[in-house]
């Protein structure tokens, strides 16, 4: 896996909150490279900096120092190099949330198609792509259902379809199996591994779920904002 193209390249990234006595160093000199097809887990106790690192890679949080390169484009080097970070996220990154975070007023298909609508796809092409993805994730029979009517597993698969809709090569997942039982959690992880392999994408997952540790190519431990080992 490590032979693939580097999709995430984080060099010397630090992030602190506050100053003086209230200063908290959430990340300290973090270096991390993730390759195409690789599925890694960010592990560590609460407050170790996992979510902060995920937010930095997701261009949600500006690091205090360091350089971030995503899919070959350096997006942060002391400062953001792109003004439109939302467009960057739309084009390059897919997010999978702990709770699926589907928009409750849209159907499963529309929840997937909305990303494509934002990306400028035509309605017909967007619907076709959403239908294909839902079919691929074996949840197309629920395409017209609102999120409230989906089971936890169905909702999470729709959320994965949404994350993949615009063909991002970087997928960030925050506790994607936290709301699922162990069987469904295993199925979701198998699915993510399959997608990473087929679409040459990388997947970075924050998790505490020990039952799925064997599904990852690499476990990255964070402790007090530093990479402990890999």
């Amino acid at each position: 896996m490590a032979d693939g193209e580097i999709l995430i390249d984080v060099r010397g990234v630090a992030k602190h909150f506050g100053e003086g006595e209230t200063r908290v160093d959430a990340l300290r000199d973090v270096d991390l490279q993730v390759h195409a097809g690789e599925v890694i887990a960010l592990l560590g106790p609460s407050g170790s900096g996992k979510t902060t690192l995920l937010n930095v890679i997701g261009c949600i949080l500006a690091p205090s120092a360091g350089r971030v390169t995503l899919d070959g484009e350096t997006v942060f080097d002391g400062q953001w190099l792109r003004r439109d970070l939302r467009r960057l996220r739309l084009d390059k990154i897919g997010f999978i949330f702990q709770t699926h975070n589907l928009l409750p007023f849209l159907t499963a298909e529309e929840n997937v198609a909305v990303v494509l609508d934002l990306a400028g796809w035509s309605v017909e092409k967007g619907r076709a792509r959403a239908g294909d993805l839902l079919g691929y994730l074996e949840v197309d029979h629920r395409a017209a259902a609102k999120p409230a009517l989906l089971s936890g597993g169905e909702a999470q698969r729709v959320a994965i379809a949404r994350a993949l809709a615009n063909r991002p090569r970087i997928i960030l997942a925050d506790e994607p199996t936290a709301a699922l039982d162990s069987k469904r959690a295993g199925l979701v992880m198998d699915l993510l591994r399959k997608l990473a392999a087929e679409q040459e994408a990388c997947i970075v997952t924050v998790t505490h779920d020990e039952k799925i540790f064997d599904r990852f190519d690499r476990l990255v431990h964070l402790r007090d904002g530093r990479l402990a080992d890999a």
């Binding site: 979510t51 995920l54 937010n55 997701g58 949600i60 949080l61 439109d84 939302r86 467009r87 960057l88 996220r89 739309l90 084009d91 997010f95 949330f97 702990q98 709770t99 975070n101 928009l103 409750p104 007023f105 849209l106 529309e110 198609a113 909305v114 990303v115 609508d117 934002l118 990306a119 309605v123 609102k146 949404r162 925050d174 506790e175 936290a178």
Partner: protein
């Protein structure tokens, strides 16, 4: 994909209920605007009805509506002979309480001379007064029907025609009778009272006086010159039509007008706050969804569109429901509710401005939302 419409459709019942509530509030606002206009329109109706150019009244008064006015009936002949006067007529006014169909009916009785200015402008049903005595033309709001009779004073009058929109400043519907009947109604005593007066040796004086003489000027004649000429007679005063209207609005209905005006201002303020609160709350309830939209790459215009479009749909629906409701019920109000297109459009403009301003608060909150809020539980 229109997210605003999708969201509305998702919570349609709640949204419709909110719109209906707002619509009821708008109904109250529109009814107050209508009542305000109606008050002014009612006050002016009786002045405008004779289509006069000049009102000749008692010297030193602002009669016949703001103050009592009493001038000799012969004034009409004197005025009609003046240069520039096309026609003149004497009129008088009085409020009476009559009985009709077992209920008391408050009427504003206008006495006029048939064939002279001062009578009803247009008869909507039946005919005008055709005989010298005991016929009347009534406003439809009296509830009287053509052919019916009603006792006014000592005599019974037959309703021969109906008009609309004729009333005094207090909203009492008007009836038109001949001037001679009106003068008799004003001065004739009940037989028992007449006997008491006779026993006391009092002499019955039937004063041939009227409240005012109205004049219409000939084309090209100078109204100001005519009023100035009339004022040279020391026992008379003359007011132009515009002055008479101004007296009514600024004097007779001024307190009521200001009272309703102030209440309307408070009501509009309350409505604005309610609209703002609804829109702001609607936005605050969606912050997590907005954070998700931001995280998946939605630009600001998509989020602003979601908030502003919903606010405008809410405002427009509330306005529309309010308009439909008030147009449905306005004729059931005891007094006139007059809604001008300008008022309705002005309220639409105010609601639009409030919705945009309230959306601004929501948009401000939405713009501050950290996309990271969508991560985690």
């Amino acid at each position: 994909m229109n997210l605003a419409l999708k969201d509305i459709r998702h919570g349609l019942f709640r949204f419709v209920l909110t719109c209906f509530g707002l619509g009821l509030l708008m109904t109250v606002v529109l009814s107050m605007i209508g009542i305000y206009n109606g008050l002014v329109a009612d006050a002016l109706a009786v002045v405008k009805a004779p289509a006069a150019d000049v009102w000749v009244v008692e010297s030193g008064t602002k009669g016949p509506f703001a103050e009592a006015s009493n001038i000799p009936l012969t004034t009409r002949d004197a005025v009609s002979r003046m240069p520039g006067v096309a026609e003149a007529g004497a009129i008088n006014f009085q409020n009476i309480e009559a009985s009709h169909a077992g209920a008391s009916l408050r009427l504003y009785v206008i006495g006029y001379e048939p064939g002279h200015p001062g009578g009803p402008q247009s008869i909507v049903e039946g005919r005008g007064i055709g005989t010298s005595h005991f016929e009347l033309v009534a406003d439809r709001k009296t509830g009287l029907l053509t052919g019916e009779t009603i006792r006014l004073g000592r005599n019974r009058f037959t309703v021969v025609g109906l008009v609309e929109g004729a009333m005094n400043a207090g909203g009492d519907p008007a009836v038109y009778i001949t001037l001679s009947d009106a003068m008799a109604l004003q001065t004739e005593l009940d037989p028992a009272a007449q006997r008491v007066q006779a026993a006391r040796g009092a002499v019955s004086v039937k004063s041939a006086s009227v409240a005012a003489v109205i004049a219409r000027v000939a084309p090209g004649a100078d109204v100001e010159l005519l009023t100035a000429t009339v004022r040279q007679w020391k026992h008379l005063a003359a007011l132009t039509q515009a002055e008479q209207e101004e007296i009514l609005v600024s004097s007779v209905v001024d307190l009521a007008r200001r009272q309703i005006g102030l209440f309307l201002a408070i009501l509009l303020s309350v409505s604005a706050v309610v609209i703002a609160l609804i829109i702001y709350t609607m936005t605050m309830e969606k912050l997590k969804q907005i954070a998700t939209l931001k995280l998946i790459g939605a630009p600001d215009r998509t989020i602003i569109g979601l908030i502003v479009q919903q606010a405008l749909i809410l405002g427009a629906s509330g306005w529309g429901i309010g308009l439909v409701l008030i147009l449905t019920v306005k004729d059931y109000f005891p007094r006139r509710v007059v809604l001008e297109p300008f008022n309705v459009m002005m309220l639409a403009g105010i609601i639009f401005a409030v919705c945009i301003a309230a959306s601004g608060l929501g948009v401000r909150a939405a713009m501050k939302v950290d996309p990271a809020t969508a991560l985690g539980s």
